[in-house]
Subunit: 466 residues, 3 copies
C-alpha cells in the first residue's frame, strides 16, 4: 500500500490576532486549532505528519506531540515556500500523495480528507484542490473549471473578472498533491530567480505551484467538499468567534441527534472529544471539556465547568466545577461545589453546597452536605459529614491523609488534623478539633464546656445603639 | 350548552428522540410537552380531556393529573387508530365537538383553540383543520382549498405536485370534529379490511378520516391560525431545542412588553407560569421555574435558579438558587446563596455569600452575611449571625429545631446544637459550641482560653524550607 | 472659535416602558441611556450641555452630573416645545450651533457628531438633519431630498406616498441647528396661536421647526451617517433589548479586533468604559462593568461579575464577583469567590473557593484557599490561611482590623477576633479562637484537648436505624 502523508502549515504570524502567542494555538472549543487539524488528518487516515513551523516556532514545537515531525520556515515567504521547507519529508514519501493543510483552518473534517484522497487517486491527479461552495465567496480564490470539469485556474479576488466573482466554489487552501509532481514543481520554482522586482526576496504560494503543475500539463481537479465550514480560516478574533460558533453548533447537534437534551444552548460549550449518554440534560452555561465522559439520564448544569471527568448515570451536577475526577452513578453534586483533581466520588454520594473535594476517595452513600473541605482523604461509605468540616491536610511543611471508616458521623465544625484516622461508626462531637485517632464505635470530644454569664448584655451593652 | 371535549394523542414512541422515556414528557421551558397541550386545551375552554397513551403508557398515565381520562392504544397503528381507542369517550360526547391535539406539538395556543371552535361552529363544519402559514412548508401536509375556500384535500409532501408544494398553508395536525361525524367516519374505516398489502396490520391516520368525511360530502374547512409556531412538533432533540427557543422568546417578549427589563436574554429561561412585576431586571443566566412570583423593582440574577419561590418587591437575588421559598420585600440575597425548601426570608433580611438556608423562618432585618448554614430554625428579627455559623440540626438520628430571639448576636464560628434556644439580645462568643439554652440578655461562651508558646516556630521550624 | 452646545431631550414619559422610573435612565450595557448620550456629545466635542427634563424631572436631575444645566418642560407638548424650554440656554449660545439629541437614542456616536458638525459648518446650513440608511425604514421619518441634495422635507410614515415609503434614508431625530436660525423659528412658532382644533394646547415638534426654517428659505440638508444604529430609540423593553444587543456586539467586536479572545459571547456583557489587554480570554456568562481595567493574558470567567476592578496581567478570575477592588499580576482567584469593595489583592495571591474578602490588603504570594472570610484586614506576604478561617471584625458595636505578619501560618477553623495582631512567622493551631495578639515566631493555641469515650456509640446507639 502507498503510504500518504500530510504537511501542515503552522508558520504564519497572524498579525490580525494581535497576539503574543502563536496563532495556531488559538482555540476552538478550548482545543488549539493545530490540534483540530492534526487530529482530523489522523482520523482521515493520514498519520504521517510534518508541521511547518515559523513564527514562535519553539512554542509551537513544544506544544506538539514529540512524535510529529517539524520543519522550520525561518523566513515567512509564503505557503509555497513553507511547503519547500518540508522537502526532505516529501522526498521520503516520493511514491505517495501528500495532503497540505492549514493549521489555522480548523474545521476541515476527516470525511473530506478521505473522500478527496479517493477522488485524487481515482482521477490520477497531480493535484486535487479541496474546494467547497460557500454562500458569500468574497475574498476567496474562485475555482475556475474547464469544460471537462478539470481545473483551469484558481483566481484570486483582486484578479477575478465580474463573471468569475460570481463563482461560489472556492479554494479551501487544502490540497492533495502527488509527491513527485509537487517535488518537480518545487524544483522548477527554486530554479527561477526568487527575487522580487524591488530586490526583496520573492514570496511564493501554493497557487504558484499549481500554476507550474498546470503549465506542465499535469492533471489538476477540484474536489467539491460538502461542508462550506472547512473553508474559513481564523485571521482575527472575530473570525475565531465565528468558527467557535460553527463548531459549537455542529457538536451540539451531534449530541442532540443522539439523544442528549439541550433545552437552551446559551453558554453551552462541549469539546469535540466529550462523550454523553442519552436522556442526559445539559443546562445553560455549562462547559464540558477534555476527555469528559457522561452517562445517561444525568442532569449537568446550569453554570457548570466539567473537565476530564468521568461521570456515571443518573448523576446530578448543579453549578459545579469538576476537574480530573470520577463520579459514580446516582451521585448528587451541587450547587456551588468544586471537585479538584483526583476526587473519586462513590455511588449515591451527596455533595452539597460550598463543598470542595480534592485528591480524595469518598465511599458509596456518604453525605457531605455543606461548607466543608475534604482533601487528601479516604472516606468510607455511608459516612455523615456535618456542616463546616475541614480536613487539616497541611501543616506548613507536609501534606498528610485523613482516613474515616464506614458509617462514621463527623460532627459540625470539626477540624480533622491529618494524619488522623477515625474508626468505623465513630462519632465526633460538634466543634471538635480531632488531633488523635478515634477508635471504632467511640465518641471523640475536643471542645470547651459552655459557660453562661447572666445579664452580661444588659450590663455591658455591647450593641451599637440603633 | 353543548359540551365539547378533546382527545390528546400521546401514544407515539418518538424513536428519533433516542430516549428511554416517553416522548411527550420531553420538556419545553422545563414543562413537559403534554402539560403544555393539556393546559392550552383547558385555557381554550375545553376541560373534558381524554389522553390516548401507548408507548410507556404507565409512565405517561402516572404523570397525568388523575382526573384526566386515558385510553390505551396498545398497538401503534397511526393517529386515526389512536383516536379510535377513545371511541367510548367520544360516544359520551356525541352531541358536541371534539378537538384533536398532539401531545408533541406543544406550542398550540388557547386563542387558536377558541377561535377555531367558533369558526367550526359558525361554519357548521364536520371537520375543521387547524392550519397556519409557514415560511418553509417542506415536509408538512399542504392545505388545498376549493374555490369556495372549503377544504379540497390535505396533500402530503411526497404526493404533492410542484404547484401544491408552493402552498405555504399547512396542516398543524390539530382538528375540530363534530363528534357524530367523526364516529361515523371511524365506523366506516373499521368496517373495511384493515390489512395492508403485505398482510400486516394496516395503519390509518387522521387524514384518512378526513378523506372519508370529504367522501361523505360533509363540510370540511381549514382554519388559518395566526401563529406559525403551533405547527411544528418535536420529533428529535434538535427540534426540541428549536421549540424551546420559540417558546423562550415568546415568554420573554410578553414580560418585556409588560415592563420587565432583560438587558441580555442569554441563558434566561422563564417558565410559562411565572409572574414578574414591572421594573424588575432579569440578568443573564437566570432560570425562573414553576409557580414563581416576583414583585416589582427586583434585580434577579445573574446566574440564578429560582423555582416555586414567591419574591416581594425591591429584592436583590444575585447568583442564588432558591426552591419552594418565600422572600419578603427588600431582602438582599447573594451572591452564592442557596435557599432550600421552606425558607421564609423576612423583610430587609440580608443573606450573604456562601450561606444555605433550609426549612427556616428568618425574621425581618436579620443578617446572615457569610459562610453559614441555618436549617430547621426559627430566627427572630434584627439578629446578627457571624461568619461561619451552623445550626447542628441532625445528630445522626433525629432533626431538631434551633430558636433564636430578636436582637441576638451569634458570634463567628458558632455551632448551635439543636434542640437549643437562644434568648432575645443574647450574645454568644466567637468560636463557641452552644449546647445548652442561652437566656435572654446573657453571654454564652464555650471555648478554650488562648495559650502562647513563645518562639515555638523558631525552635520547631514547622515550615517547609522555601 | 465658535462655541457649540447641545440640547438633550430627556423629558418624555415613555409609557410603553411600563415603568415607575424615568425612561432615560433605562440602561444599555448597564449604563443609563442618558449617560450614553451626554458622553457621546462630550466625546464628539460638544461639552456645553442643557438637558430638558420633564417626566420625573427631579429623579433625572439628581442623576445628572451637577455641572450639567437643565431646563424644565413642565407640560409634555412635543419635541419642539421641549427645545423651547432651553431658550435661555440657546440665547447664550446665539453665535454658535446647537446639537439636538434624544436621551432615549443611546447609540449615537461621537464620530457622527463631529463629522456632521463639519458638514453643517462647511455647508453653512441653518439646520442639518442627522440621517442614516436603514434596512427597514417603516415607522421612521423619510428624508426627501431636492435635486441638489438639500432637504425638501421630512415625511412621516402616515403621510408618506408609496414612493416615499421606499426611501431608506431616515431621520435619526438628531440635528444641528444654527442657534440664530433656531431661535428665529421658535419665535415664529410662539407667535402663532398654540391651540389645537379641539381647544387643547397644541403640541409641536422639531420637524415643525424645520418646516418653518425651510419656509424661511434657509438652507437645510441631511447628513448621511454611516451607522444605521444611531437611529433606533428605545420605546419599550423589547427595543431596549435590541439596542443592548447591538451595543453588546459592537463592544465585543472592538475588543476582539484588539486581541481579546471571546470563544463564546453568550452572556458576555462588557460595558463601554472597560479596558482589556490583548491575549486575555473572556469566558461565557461574564459581565464587566464600570471602570474595570484588565491586563493582558488573563482568563476572566466563566460566570463572573467584575465591576470597577483593576486587574493586572496573567490573572485568573473564575466564577468570581469583584467590586471596587484591585488585583495584581498572576493572582489566581476562584472559583466561587467574592471580592467586596476595597480588596487589594497582591501579586501571585491565591484566593480559592468559597472565600470572601472585604476592605483588606492581601500581600504578595499569600494563599487563602478555602471557605474563609477576610474583612477589614491587613495581611502580609506569603501567609498561609487554613480552611474555614474568619476575621471577627464586628462585635455588635464597632468594626476593628486584623493584622497578620509576613510568613504567618493561620490554622484551619480559626476565628481571629479583631482588633488583633499576629506576628511574622507566627503559627496558630487549627480550631483556635485567637483573641489576643500573637508575637512573631510564636505558636498560639486556643482549643480544648481531645477526649475519647470508648464504645460510646455501641452503648448509646445514636444513629437512626437503617
Amino acid at each position: 500500500m502507498i503510504k500518504n502523508c500530510a504537511v501542515i502549515l503552522a508558520a504564519g504570524e497572524g498579525k490580525r490576532m494581535k497576539s503574543s502567542h502563536p496563532k495556531v494555538l488559538c482555540e476552538i472549543l478550548f482545543k488549539p486549532m493545530i490540534d483540530w487539524v492534526t487530529a482530523c488528518a489522523v482520523e482521515g487516515g493520514v498519520a504521517d505528519l510534518c508541521v511547518v513551523i515559523g513564527h514562535l516556532s519553539e512554542v509551537v514545537r513544544s506544544h506538539l506531540n514529540p512524535s510529529i515531525e517539524t520543519a522550520l520556515q525561518s523566513e515567512l515567504l509564503g505557503t509555497g515556500h513553507a511547503v519547500m521547507q518540508a522537502k526532505d519529508f516529501l522526498k521520503r514519501h516520493g511514491s505517495g500523495n501528500v495532503l497540505i493543510l492549514n493549521a489555522d483552518a480548523p474545521l476541515m473534517d476527516s470525511e473530506t480528507i478521505s473522500n478527496s484522497l479517493n477522488f485524487h487517486v481515482r482521477n490520477e491527479n497531480a493535484v486535487t484542490v479541496i474546494a467547497a461552495k460557500v454562500e458569500n465567496p468574497f475574498g476567496y480564490g474562485r475555482i475556475v473549471r474547464k469544460d471537462d470539469d478539470t481545473l483551469l485556474k484558481i483566481v484570486e479576488e483582486k484578479e477575478a473578472t465580474d463573471e468569475e466573482k460570481e463563482i461560489k466554489e472556492v479554494n479551501s487552501g487544502a490540497y492533495w498533491f502527488n509527491c513527485q509532481a509537487l517535488l518537480t514543481a518545487l524544483e522548477r520554482i527554486i530554479a527561477k530567480k526568487n527575487v522580487a522586482a524591488d530586490g526583496s526576496k520573492k514570496e511564493y504560494y501554493l497557487t504558484d505551484i499549481i500554476e507550474v503543475i498546470l503549465g506542465l500539463g499535469l492533471k489538476a481537479t477540484a474536489f467539491n467538499a460538502e461542508s462550506p465550514h472547512l473553508v474559513p480560516g481564523a485571521n482575527d478574533r472575530v473570525q475565531l468567534l465565528q468558527l467557535n460558533e460553527i463548531a459549537k453548533k455542529a457538536v451540539l447537534k451531534k449530541h442532540m441527534l443522539a439523544g442528549v437534551s439541550i433545552p437552551c444552548a446559551d453558554g453551552v460549550i462541549i469539546g469535540p472529544d466529550v462523550v454523553i449518554g442519552r436522556d442526559t440534560v445539559i443546562l445553560p452555561g455549562t462547559i464540558l471539556k477534555g476527555k469528559t465522559i457522561i452517562g445517561s439520564d444525568c442532569t449537568i448544569g446550569p453554570n457548570s465547568l466539567v473537565d476530564n471527568t468521568v461521570i456515571g448515570c443518573n448523576v446530578t451536577l448543579n453549578n459545579t466545577q469538576s476537574v480530573d475526577s470520577v463520579i459514580a452513578d446516582e451521585a448528587q453534586i451541587g450547587p456551588f461545589v468544586r471537585l479538584r483533581p483526583n476526587s473519586n466520588i462513590g455511588k449515591g454520594v451527596r455533595v452539597g453546597n460550598f463543598v470542595e473535594i480534592k485528591n480524595s476517595n469518598i465511599g458509596d452513600g456518604t453525605k457531605i452536605s455543606h461548607l466543608s473541605y475534604i482533601g487528601d482523604s479516604d472516606f468510607g461509605s455511608d459516612i455523615n459529614v456535618g456542616c463546616g468540616c475541614a480536613t487539616v491536610n497541611y501543616n506548613g511543611s507536609t501534606k498528610s491523609r485523613t482516613v474515616v471508616g464506614n458509617d462514621a458521623f463527623i460532627g459540625c465544625h470539626n477540624s480533622l488534623v491529618a494524619p488522623v484516622s477515625i474508626g468505623e461508626r465513630a462519632y465526633t462531637a460538634a466543634g471538635s478539633t480531632i488531633t488523635e485517632d478515634v477508635p471504632a464505635d467511640s465518641l471523640a470530644l475536643a471542645r470547651a464546656r459552655q459557660v453562661i454569664k447572666k445579664d452580661w448584655v444588659k450590663n455591658k451593652s455591647p450593641y451599637k445603639k440603633k
